[in-house]
């Protein structure tokens, strides 16, 4: 049951590293992260905040780009290059194939994120103490930063996995361009989901229909902002593991929904 999934995942993982485009994004992201300390000087007095904004922002943003551009190609490439024919002719069900492709992509994302994270940690460890020394009263924030950054990257991983899942499912439904656009829109709208909540606020004079529709939209859309704990980093707040687990659990639950939809769609898809 698991073996074909893992085998497809492994092949996907190996193949992903041969895509120049994705390597290019990764390289560019690491470059941006590596130079995040330069941007820090844009905000005198808030260098630490800036280095984190740029560094973690780049990890999430480029991770998302990699997820979208890889995820929307994983299955269509197999179909277009007809490699899927020989694989599905073997004892691999469509569900196993979809989950295998997703898992391989997820592993690729994890390694990409780990590489970006390591690059960021190195930059941070070199430059941050210098910035922190200039503001001794923020020492407590700085002290919590190392662990908070690790937590932020873990949550970013779940966020980007979710983006990958959406991209993979979208690619089984739409053409490539459309699925890229679809995934971006879901991601952006998901980031702004609080906007729908505000819009549907009856205090704002939203009509009853608008309230129901927007409220439903708000409930159905994945709330990508829950994976963002930069506030905690910048404020030096401790993020409890309970909340971390809850957030990861929610990410996993969203993923189950997305992959289930992917299975239902792909199971009847002709290749």
């Amino acid at each position: 049951m698991m073996r074909p999934i893992l085998r497809v995942a492994r092949a996907t993982f190996h193949e992903a590293w041969r895509r120049r485009f994705l390597n290019g994004i990764l390289l560019f992201a690491i470059l941006i992260i590596g130079s995040s300390w330069v941007f820090a000087y844009l905000q005198p007095g808030a260098e630490l905040q800036m280095i984190i904004d740029i560094g973690l922002g780049a990890i999430r943003f480029f991770g998302m780009l990699i997820a979208v551009f890889m995820g929307t190609r994983l299955i269509p490439d197999e179909i277009e290059r007809r490699t899927i024919h020989t694989i599905l002719a073997k004892p691999v069900s469509r569900a196993q194939f979809v989950f295998g492709k997703f898992l391989g992509g997820a592993a690729t994302i994890a390694v990409n994120l780990a590489l970006m994270g390591i690059a960021f940690y190195i930059v941070f460890a070199i430059k941050a103490p210098e910035f922190a020394a200039a503001k001794p009263e923020d020492a407590f924030i700085f002290a919590a930063m190392y662990s908070n950054i690790a937590k932020a990257i873990v949550l970013a991983l779940f966020e980007i996995w979710l983006v990958l899942g959406i991209a993979v499912v979208a690619s089984t439904l739409f053409s490539w361009v459309l699925s890229v656009i679809f995934t971006f829109v879901i991601y952006f709208v998901g980031q702004m989901s609080d906007f729908f909540q505000q819009l549907s606020d009856p205090g704002r004079g939203a009509s009853q229909i608008a309230q129901v529709l927007l409220g439903a939209l708000y409930r159905v859309l994945p709330h990508f902002e829950i994976f963002d704990i930069r506030e905690a980093i910048l404020q030096g707040t401790y993020t409890p593991w309970g909340t971390m687990l809850q957030t990861m659990g929610q990410g996993a639950a969203y993923l189950v929904v997305v992959l289930l939809i992917g299975y239902l769609v792909f199971n009847e898809r002709e290749v």
Binding site: R3, P4, R7, V8, A11, H14, E15, R18, R81, R82, T83, I84, H85, T86, I87, L88, A89, K90, P91, V92, S93, E268, E270, V271
Partner: protein, 323 residues
């Protein structure tokens, strides 16, 4: 050439009616053409017995690959149904027992021969030394052992075809689907493949061949079905299809008009075949007499004997008969 005799077939039918493939009105209709005729595969009913080499023949676009994809569960029928070894199409249990070589096969470019076969092998849950031994055996079999470390992206078409055949056989399948087996292969390679297939058949495997090269399939297949525009127009054992009862042919060249007229009166019917002239007779003695006559008239006897049709002729006849 070994073919199971009529008796064997009868015996099989009586005692162990095991069909490798059975379809009933299997259809896949994509659209309709301008005249309202459905495009795709229409009402295909097939029965392929175990241990046969079955050829699904027809020109390009006649629905062969569609049939194959339907049987493999890659696409789903609009109506009708099918079974492989009594199991539903596209189930993992079915796929455990089959092998598939697509036309002009594509594989992961970044793998080499061994990695590729090991990838497909593990999809069957194979592994360890058993898989390694199987891979070595197959690479030798398809003549790729010396080139086993070359990556797929550097393969020629023929090499792709060979490694494709190897991956199709990785699980030692009972039923092998081969789409345009010899495409991209040189004549020697094609011959090797043909020998391989017959060897497999002799080991009791069932082979399902798809090809537009009717001539190549003629000596290979036990049974064929011929498709044209999505519909089956001929089906049966190859020898039955090709045999023409009581017909003898005389083929001559350098034929004078006088002789032509003579032969036209004596023969059942005549025809011009290129530069040659053919005359058909109902019995052997008549043909022999005509040959002597022709020889006396100074014509050159090119061929004389019992007449067999080619599959091409069968096909053209079938298509022509339809119109």
């Amino acid at each position: 050439m070994k073919r199971p005799g009529k008796l064997a077939r009868v015996a099989r039918r009586c005692f162990a009616i095991s069909l490798a493939i059975k379809t009933e009105n299997l259809s896949k209709i994509y659209s309709q053409d301008a005249t309202g005729r459905p495009v795709g595969l229409i009402d295909l009913s097939l029965e392929v017995e175990e241990g046969q080499i079955f050829g699904l023949l027809g020109p390009n676009g006649s629905g062969k690959t569609t049939t194959l994809k339907l049987l493999l569960g890659l696409i789903f029928p609009t109506r009708g149904s099918g079974q492989i070894f009594g199991l539903p199409l596209g189930s993992n249990a079915t796929k455990e027992r089959i092998g598939f070589l697509p036309e002009g096969p594509y594989f992961y470019e970044h793998l080499n021969g061994i990695e590729l076969l090991s990838f497909y092998g593990t999809l069957f849950g194979m592994g360890g030394s058993r898989l390694a031994a199987r891979i070595e055996e197959l690479l030798h079999l398809v003549g790729m052992w010396d080139r086993r470390f070359i990556h797929v992206r550097e393969y020629s078409r023929g090499m792709r075809q060979r490694i494709g055949a190897a991956q199709a056989m990785i699980n030692d399948p009972d039923l092998l689907f081969l789409d345009e087996l010899t495409s991209g292969l040189d004549p020697i390679g094609a011959m090797e493949m043909h020998e391989l297939i017959m060897e497999l058949r002799d080991r009791g495997k069932t082979i399902f061949l798809c090809s537009h090269l009717l001539k190549d399939m003629e000596p290979l297949c036990d049974r064929v079905s011929i498709l044209n525009q999505g519909e089956m127009c001929q089906s049966g054992a190859v020898e039955d299809l090709l045999r023409v009862e009581d017909q003898y042919r005389l083929l001559i060249s350098n034929c004078s008009d006088e002789l032509t007229q003579q032969l036209q009166t004596s023969a059942q019917h005549t025809e011009a075949v290129g530069n040659h002239f053919a005359a058909y007779y109902a019995d052997q003695s008549g043909a022999l007499a005509a040959a002597q006559e022709a020889s006396a008239a100074g014509a050159v006897i090119e061929q004389l004997g019992a007449h067999h049709r080619t599959l091409e002729e069968v096909f053209i006849e079938a298509v022509g008969g339809e119109e």
